[in-house]
Symmetry: C3
């Protein structure tokens, strides 16, 4: 989605930038601390390992400061949210901010739970580098799923919005990219959105421009899913093959298959 | 297992009824809220997504009322049971009852834990639409794994008993069906019983007769497992293929392969 | 690694001993209670089921004594450690000791968390039959990853040390074995180390010499992983195939492929 000639030029370069981010992920193997729901933990850890990052997952308040402060990036996912996790998030975000590490907010299913939506709105004020969510969740924090409104929301909250859908939208206050990779079976596997948030966090660890990092994270999963979906008999096969695709994905293939506009 | 000519006629129609339930599952995509153990969460969510339902899994007391009250059915699984889950169950069952939604009780491993068995007996008094369990667990709530005793137990507790085994038994106060689908490798994958309970809950969301819904849920998993087991090299392959089989299972195949008596 | 002619003779017999342990695992189907992190629970349960053991996983303080005391072995894994788990560990270890059941300590990522490392040192005083960990974790409890230091540490703590790495080291106060099976992709799947600890616990349930049991548990996973890795397209495929390999592994293949020195 070109919003000006300059942004169009950016979009054309985005595929190559994503390939560069993937190369750095492989070379640096960043640590990503993930506060995520118990449904998603195993798949998220395997997605990070497949792409070359190192996951950790504790949520214990006594020790999460050690993990989050020592990691290269932090993921805060609000799925299956309980009291201990709320306390852990507070400590972990403070530790990440103190250590100047980027963090990603993934406000899972806040459209179904008013207390969880209220927590998400509070966390947005603490300036995550990126907000990764779907359209219903975006509406629940006051957003609207079109390009202009997404950019305005990103500007107002000093963050990058990475909006998942049939076509993904990624926006900061000035730039918007539409990403058209992926496969319909990806919606039939739990924690796929959570995994994309974890990949965005991993990319933020090796790329200082949060917009470029967010585009890269979304593209890496979209292209790997597209490749995995080509031969999958169903969602079970896809969930296995996407880990293999992430592991085998090379930067040149990522750049060649990326559908960015 | 025909207990009278009329019930025999019912059993012959059960395969077609299950196929009709599967069609409605695909068309309506019901939401199923699952309070289940952390071992089973990921597989259970993927089983529900594969068959066309929408899972949610939170157990936080602050928000579970929102999720359970807004869902089309509720699953209460007692595996890895902790204090927070006990509180969540109490709130969720109240919300489901208030919203007139069906709920399923799966009293995992109560035969090994007296406090968990006591909780299961209390929950039975709150009238789950179905009780899905194995023979050892059934004994621990006072049941006995034969057709007549199962029917009596169902009558006394105003529920449907869905008893898993080499042959599954499903009974309400009047009807009993024996289901002979499945594959031996299904016993070598954790959370397979939990997944069958989740499928029963999904079927209850689209079928008002709890006996028909329970038979359908058990048959869907049994037939999908049987198909998956035909080419599986072992339990790992089966766990993947069963998701693909659930996704691809069509009502006609379900009706043709169902072994009901 | 032969440390004397007698120990060399032992090492030569270790492959056959491991095969005998595997036969007993299949015949006796021991119950293993696992206190493990929520990332690892599902894979650990499936690994135990694949090899023929029966897992249980609760961490609720109210009931863990019933589970741990009734099991044939106990696994204590410190990953994603929270308050409830700490309380559960205390009760479970006491129940295992009272019932004279062996238990395994797996101090996951204690190198990154001082409070977790302190807990691990306290637990070591309660004499686990085996301590399964990697080099960084071993350093965090005061060990050093070479054969002589590992043996000294095992002697000082009256335990067996099973140290994972490119080559695994297993030592008690007198004996040391180096195990060279495995596959590089195993490091790209979360919970593989946790699963090896669970297998050591399962072997302890059927073998009274903790050194022999620990060697057997490490070899079973190493050989199964090696077989699975031969045809895996990536880590996703490996995670599936390793369950199939564990299920299909026969004692003669284990003895023939074991690389012990």
């Amino acid at each position: 989605m070109r919003t000006s000639p300059d942004l169009g030029a950016f979009a054309q370069g985005a595929a190559q930038s994503a390939a560069d981010v993937l190369s750095r992920l492989r070379a640096k193997s960043p640590r990503v601390h993930c506060i995520t729901n118990s449904v998603a933990q195993n798949f998220t850890a395997n997605v990070l390992l497949a792409v070359g990052a190192q996951p950790s997952m504790t949520i214990a308040p006594e020790e999460i400061g050690h993990f989050a402060g020592g990691a290269d990036a932090l993921l805060v996912n609000l799925g299956t949210f309980d009291r201990e996790r709320a306390e852990a998030v507070d400590i972990a975000v403070a530790a990440a901010v103190a250590a100047q590490r980027p963090w990603v907010l993934d406000p899972v299913l806040i459209d179904r739970s008013p207390p969880r939506a209220a927590l998400a709105r509070d966390l947005l004020k603490r300036r995550p580098a990126a907000l990764r969510l779907n359209a219903a969740e975006f509406v629940a924090v006051g957003g609207k799923a079109d390009a202009a409104a997404t950019r305005d929301f990103a500007a107002a909250h000093s963050t990058v919005v990475a909006l998942s859908g049939a076509t993904d939208l990624v926006a900061d206050g000035g730039r918007v990219a539409a990403l058209a990779n992926g496969h319909p079976l990806m919606a039939r596997i739990t924690a796929m959105g959570c995994a994309s948030s974890a990949l965005v966090a991993a990319c933020l660890a090796v790329e200082s421009d949060p917009f470029v990092a967010s585009v890269a994270g979304m593209l890496i999963l979209g292209v790997a899913g597209e490749i995995a979906g080509e031969n999958a008999a169903g969602p079970g096969g896809l969930a296995v093959s996407i880990l293999d695709s992430l592991y085998r994905l090379d930067p040149a293939t990522l750049a060649a298959r990326a559908k960015v506009s």
